[in-house]
């Protein structure tokens, strides 16, 4: 039977009687890897339901790829599994060496395959155990931070103060343009939406009140924090993650330095200082976005809009947003550094840690914002 192999001479497998009650399949021609499916099909068609021992006779083979030999050995195993004695014969020269190589490899002990989850219950158990480990890791991280804080108070040199200004510049000054642009646009969009709704009640002059309050209390701090989480949170996580996988964190420890004092606290201090400052910039730009739209759509002057804004805003409105932003900065640095330090497994691990840091930071920001809103409402401020 000729196979569908495309090379010349094509593969050919024929069934013959080998005598002494044995059956033989004679392989002839070339057997590159791409004839494997055809070869399997041919063998099973020719063998049918074998009732005699089989010789796989390779004496006519001119060439055979290693992959083809591997599959042929597997076929032999399948035949034996079906209760038929099968052996490979007639392999010569290079083919004999190829056969010996793959046959010996097949007989070497293989590593045990780790057991996969066997049931839904086991998978749930694994998830719960994983969650427990996550909680344990987080508590360990917080405990280590506390330890490092105490050590830093006792010995301020433990803290890498030199890094604080560098990180503040990167997270703060370098982030100003994007904060300005985003908060200005958010102020514009808020004003547009407010004008459309308020005009229905003839109250469009209150657009200044709405923009000022929403930007100062919610949008300014939140949008700024989201930008910082995307820029600096991701950068912290990637930087610390890369240090973790390239043994730099281990090196720090062996030099007697705490990664918390040396790497985490400078980032926390930097963001706790920088995020409120960026928030003030964002507040101002958000209001300016409202001014811009109102001047275009309401024919209101800059001075008049500014006076309306000052009338409605009191110091607490701005201060409450700034207070939130301090906690936002702390949370972003805390989460991003934790994910970075926990990085394992090379470049892919760094990517995962960075993604995880941004997602977890955003989640934390929304939760913290909701908590603040509830608290401020409870206390009527």
């Amino acid at each position: 039977m000729r196979g569908r192999g495309e090379r010349r001479p094509p593969m050919e497998i024929t069934r013959v009687d080998a005598g002494a009650g044995r059956l033989a399949l004679r392989f002839a021609g070339a057997f590159p890897a791409d004839v494997v499916p055809a070869m399997r099909e041919c063998v099973w068609q020719l063998v049918g339901r074998p009732d005699a021992p089989i010789d796989l006779d390779l004496s006519g083979v001119e060439s055979m790829d290693g992959s083809t030999m591997a599959v042929l050995l597997e076929l032999r195993g399948e035949l034996e599994h079906h209760g038929t004695e099968a052996r490979i014969t007639g392999a010569h020269d290079a083919l004999a060496r190829l056969y010996e190589l793959y046959d010996a490899a097949g007989r070497r002990p293989t590593r045990p395959v780790p057991d996969g989850p066997t049931s839904a219950l086991e998978q749930i158990g694994r998830e719960v155990a994983g969650f427990g480990e996550g909680v344990n890791t987080t508590l360990d991280y917080l405990g280590s931070l506390l330890d490092a804080a105490i050590a830093t108070v006792r010995r301020p040199a433990n803290m890498n103060w030199a890094d604080v200004t560098r990180i503040m510049e990167r997270a703060g000054a370098d982030g100003v343009p994007i904060v300005v642009m985003i908060t200005f646009l958010v102020g514009m969009v808020t004003a547009f939406q407010a004008i459309v709704q308020l005009r229905q009640f003839g109250a469009d002059i209150f657009v200044a009140d709405l923009v000022a309050l929403s930007v100062a209390r919610e949008l300014g701090p939140l949008m700024t924090a989201i930008i910082v989480a995307g820029r600096s949170g991701a950068a912290f996580s990637a930087e610390l993650g890369t240090m973790a996988v390239s043994e730099e964190i281990d090196a720090l420890r062996t030099l007697g330095l705490s990664p918390y004092g040396f790497l985490v606290y400078p980032r926390i201090v930097a963001l706790v200082v920088v995020v409120p400052l960026l928030t003030l910039v964002g507040d101002l730009c958000g209001v300016l976005g409202g001014v811009f739209v109102s001047m275009l759509r309401l024919d209101i002057t800059l001075t008049a809009y500014w006076q309306l804004t000052l009338q409605v805003l009191d110091l607490w409105d701005v201060a409450s947003g700034v207070l939130k932003s301090v906690v936002f900065g702390w949370a972003i640095a805390l989460v991003a550094c934790q994910r970075g330090l926990a990085t394992r497994g090379g470049a892919a691990g760094v990517g995962l840690a960075t993604t995880s840091a941004v997602v977890a930071s955003l989640f934390a920001l929304v939760v913290i914002d909701a908590l603040f809103t509830v608290l401020f409402n409870l206390y009527g401020v």
């Binding site: 240090m243 390239s246 043994e247 730099e248 281990d250 090196a251 420890r253 062996t254 030099l255 330095l257």
Partner: protein, 246 residues
């Protein structure tokens, strides 16, 4: 054999719940080059991480210069470490890397630190490389800079993890020579984790050989004597670079 600076007794190490090696007992004599040998996956690097305190042993005891591991946390380290990749801090220059432990653990003024950094870098053949970033130097130079950082505080012990890995033969021989010279001249006890046999025969006076299947030490002593005289086929096979018989 001189007095031991590191004593390991009935140590068990591993990952998670999995024991990799157990009943490890050995002493590292002072002032010599001591090698921890073994095939890939035999637990050499895990043992090193336990010795330098990056992992907590699953059982047993490690004492470095009479101090039990874990008792010396937060104090000036008693040893320096060269990691496989060099592990220089990428955001600092080579000089700042070497200066870091000096700034942390000494009250030296900047001029003195600068002089020491220059001297340490010159010692490892990197004089003048103070202002280069790790990304600007070769793999061999990174390892030399890592040794300079490990020696910054003049520790009595240094640990080297696969110092020759990834180096060309010439750089590898030069590094071996440097390690031997530092050990002889400074009296530094050097613990090397490696499977580079030529390096070990050239520089180490003592070694232990770990075996994954035995989950422990299968030989200890002078590496050349073990190579030539050991009756244990596993030891002879490893040290004479012979493939395993099936």
């Amino acid at each position: 054999m001189s007095d031991p600076v590191i004593q390991v007794e009935d140590l068990a190490i591993g990952w998670g719940d999995r024991v990799l090696m157990e009943h490890l007992t050995f002493d590292v004599p002072a002032g010599d080059v001591f090698a921890i040998l073994g095939g890939s996956g035999s637990g050499k690097s895990t043992l090193l991480r336990n010795l330098i305190g990056l992992e907590v042993p699953m059982g047993g005891r490690i004492e470095i210069r009479g101090v039990r591991e874990g008792e010396g946390d937060g104090v000036r380290p008693a040893f320096g470490v060269l990691f496989q990749s060099g592990a220089l801090f990428g955001s600092m220059t080579v000089g700042e890397n070497v200066a870091l432990p000096l700034r942390q653990w000494t009250a030296l003024d900047e001029a003195s630190i600068e002089a020491i950094v220059h001297a340490k870098l010159a010692l490892v053949g990197l004089g003048g490389a103070e202002h280069q970033l790790p990304s600007e130097i070769s793999g061999g130079m990174k390892k030399r800079a890592g040794i300079a950082r490990a020696l910054a505080l003049d520790p009595p012990i240094i640990f080297l993890d696969e110092p020759s890995a990834g180096l060309d033969p010439v750089s590898s021989v030069e590094l071996d020579h440097l390690i031997r010279t530092l050990s002889d001249a400074l009296g530094v006890t050097t613990v090397i984790v490696t499977h580079e046999l030529q390096s070990i025969f050239a520089i180490a006076k003592h070694c232990i050989l770990l075996d994954r299947d035995a989950r422990g030490i299968i030989a200890s002593g002078d590496p050349r004597a073990l190579r030539d005289q050991s009756a244990d086929p596993r030891v002879s096979r490893f040290l004479n670079r012979r493939a395993g018989e099936e």
